[in-house]
Symmetry: D3
Subunit: 73 residues, 6 copies
Amino acid sequence: MPYVNIRITREGVTPEQKRQLIEGATQLLADVLGKNPATTFVIIDEVDTDNWGIAGIPVTERRLKERASQQDK
Amino acid sequence: MPYVNIRITREGVTPEQKRQLIEGATQLLADVLGKNPATTFVIIDEVDTDNWGIAGIPVTERRLKERASQQDK
Amino acid sequence: MPYVNIRITREGVTPEQKRQLIEGATQLLADVLGKNPATTFVIIDEVDTDNWGIAGIPVTERRLKERASQQDK
Amino acid sequence: MPYVNIRITREGVTPEQKRQLIEGATQLLADVLGKNPATTFVIIDEVDTDNWGIAGIPVTERRLKERASQQDK
Amino acid sequence: MPYVNIRITREGVTPEQKRQLIEGATQLLADVLGKNPATTFVIIDEVDTDNWGIAGIPVTERRLKERASQQDK
Amino acid sequence: MPYVNIRITREGVTPEQKRQLIEGATQLLADVLGKNPATTFVIIDEVDTDNWGIAGIPVTERRLKERASQQDK
């Protein structure tokens, strides 16, 4: 009866992609540990880019820098 | 000083029901472990049915199947 | 299909008390929201008192102060 | 590679304040444990005041009481 | 930069199985959402069977019932 | 009433370092958002290096590689 929590930034993930994450994670637990899909939970949390930090800055800012550095090329 | 996190699908839970969950969980910790309500946190996360999977499919899909099977009867 | 996570300090909680927390939380979700116990998860995390802070200090330290203040009386 | 999850009530936190929380938490892990900021995640969850309980009641209710008690003075 | 938290009961999972869960979950996020493995975290929490409840009872008790019902056959 | 959860690998963190993390995180929330330390929780989870993955491999393996690459120099 595993519980899988996937946290990602909210950047346009589609319902179909969510379905694939749910299916894939459930299959992974069945394949590796023989866990029963009927009692496997997968919960996806989408987090605003203002609310997710990496390397000490919000992802919002990181994305702006990435785009700027793309345009420089 | 317990921390209780209740995760449920976002399907029309009312403020009054949330109040009951908060009151009930706080009371449970006081009854069973003698915990002080003043420092008991209860946090309710409502999760979109697209983002919650069980048995390898999103709850959105599960609900559609449940309704279809109801109409068949 | 709710998921309930109860986090408490590791201070001698017995298996019987854990059983009561599991039963009580499952019942609460059934009573307030009509949730099916068969797909209700309750997970209890016991956290060392060194690893839990409140009011800016570890619970280990808080407990020492509480005992000292008891002995003063 | 620490993971820091800050959960607060949704009560008008600004992007600038979020940036400060991300920067401060990342710095804290670097200062105390020498953790590398490049692989430090900070995730801020803002929770509706209806969904956060303390002392057995929702924060929504607690805020109303606080305001009432302010006006009494 | 996804964060994946897999919670399972502590029932003899081997380091090799953990390695497979980590590899599989990281691959899933790369396949479905194009996420960079370098900044994908996977954290596995093993939970004692006394501390995990389903259907209102601890998994410890559920396992005993499962074994008893096996022996009946 | 913030809740801060710090997850780090279990690699010899001392009680004094935990105390500093608790104090620092509590102070951060007070400084940035004016939160009351009396109702600020900080919980530190130490995770075995077998159970934490980054870049698709367990930290146990990552540490071995880091040490090997150190010795090469």
